[in-house]
């Protein structure tokens, strides 16, 4: 892979209130992949799951990036109840550093903020009713425009493609909800290989059937991603072609507004 023409910025990846599924998804990236990211694209300075440093060493590494040119990727929602004490990412000089504090501190200085995964973009699972920790999205917490990459998890190409575009061109085309059109420009329904079954009114009645999953509750018609053409697991498969309905994981409002995920009694 060719090294980018501009100087490599620092990259910080914060994991807030979530499941760390997005950093795991990133490791499945292929073209480019994670090795390309850390060797050719950026100086990857901090991530809760991957950093070699522990405890105060890790916090020192994180805070040492302040004042430099860095891009901030955030996964997970932002817990706000009890002044953010529901999610503590480390301690600084013996005091707990909450996710809320860390995000506001770093978010104010970052060149770009990229919210990765549905918890970061709109609260997602972490903010699902009854939302016990008062989770909000990254954009709500930092109060400045954030590039939104919804998905549960986010596809590694959506992350690495966005990052590469930012590094090479400084920006990329976003839609009205700040999603890159490159990855979120089309409805799943419009590119679905089972679309002809929908148009002909031929519907699956049980999981495992190879026709349109609309009557089982498929959310492809309201969800914008390129899953049908890009596919997952290094371009091998995706839910609908494995006979399970899209649950709208990349749609704002997921999961509460995408329920029910499966229905068997629909006319």
């Amino acid at each position: 892979m060719t090294t980018l023409t501009q100087a490599k910025p620092n990259l910080l990846w914060l994991e807030l209130t979530g499941c760390s599924g997005n950093i795991i998804s990133l490791l499945d990236g292929a073209h480019p992949g994670f090795i390309d990211l850390v060797t050719s694209l950026v100086n990857f300075r901090y991530n809760n799951s991957l950093s070699a440093g522990e405890s105060s060493d890790a916090m020192d590494q994180l805070l040492a990036t302040l004042g430099t040119d860095f891009i901030l990727i955030v996964e997970g929602a932002v817990a706000t109840k009890a002044n953010g004490r529901y999610t503590v990412i480390g301690s600084v000089q013996g005091k707990p550093l909450t996710a809320l504090e860390a995000l506001r501190l770093l978010g104010a200085q970052a060149r770009h903020i990229v919210a990765v995964g549905s918890c970061a973009t709109h609260g997602g699972m972490s903010a699902a009713a009854p939302n016990p920790s008062g989770c909000i999205s990254v954009q709500q917490a930092v109060g400045r425009p954030v590039i939104q990459l919804p998905g549960c998890p986010c596809h590694p190409d959506w992350i690495l493609g966005t990052l590469t575009a930012l590094l090479e061109h400084g920006s990329l085309e976003l839609d009205e909800r700040h999603r890159p059109r490159l990855f979120y420009g089309n409805l799943i329904h419009d590119r679905c290989p089972r679309r002809s079954f929908f148009d002909q009114g031929i519907f699956a009645r049980r999981l495992g059937e190879s026709t349109c999953l609309f009557k089982l509750g498929c959310r492809g018609p309201v969800t914008r991603t390129d899953c049908p053409t890009r596919q997952w697991n290094q371009y091998v498969n995706w839910p609908v072609e494995d006979n399970t309905p899209c649950i709208g994981c990349a749609q704002f409002g997921f999961p509460d507004q995408m329920e029910p995920f499966i229905s068997y009694d629909i006319t």
Binding site: N186, R195, Q200, L216, P221, V222, T267
Partner: protein, 101 residues
């Protein structure tokens, strides 16, 4: 090519009979309680009401499982419609089946 708004062309769907094949059924006149039976389940079609007009959403792609962003069929959805879709012309594309009384 700027194709982010690309759509499949409108096609004749199997459940949409040609005009000369369509049976004219008298428009429904339903109370809210009667409308609730048309919830899209167990053989019932999925109807919603907006501003007193009842629409059929049984085969609407955005109404999979007779639900749409937490909203369920069989209800008067005038308020949510105005909040989300005012001015988008969506109702003109839906099949009218009657009126609330």
């Amino acid at each position: 090519m700027d194709n982010h708004n690309w759509r499949y062309p409108t096609v004749q769907k199997r459940w949409e009979r040609a005009p000369w094949q369509q049976q004219q059924t008298p428009p429904l006149s339903l109370t809210l309680a009667e409308l609730a039976q048309y919830n899209g389940k167990k053989g019932m079609p999925a109807y919603i009401a907006v501003d007193g007009v009842i629409y059929d959403v049984t085969m609407e792609a955005a109404w999979a499982a007779a639900s749409h962003f937490s909203l369920r069929a069989g209800q008067d959805l005038s308020g949510p419609y105005r909040a989300c879709h005012r001015g988008q012309g969506i109702l003109a594309r839906l099949k009218v089946v009657g009126q609330l009384r």
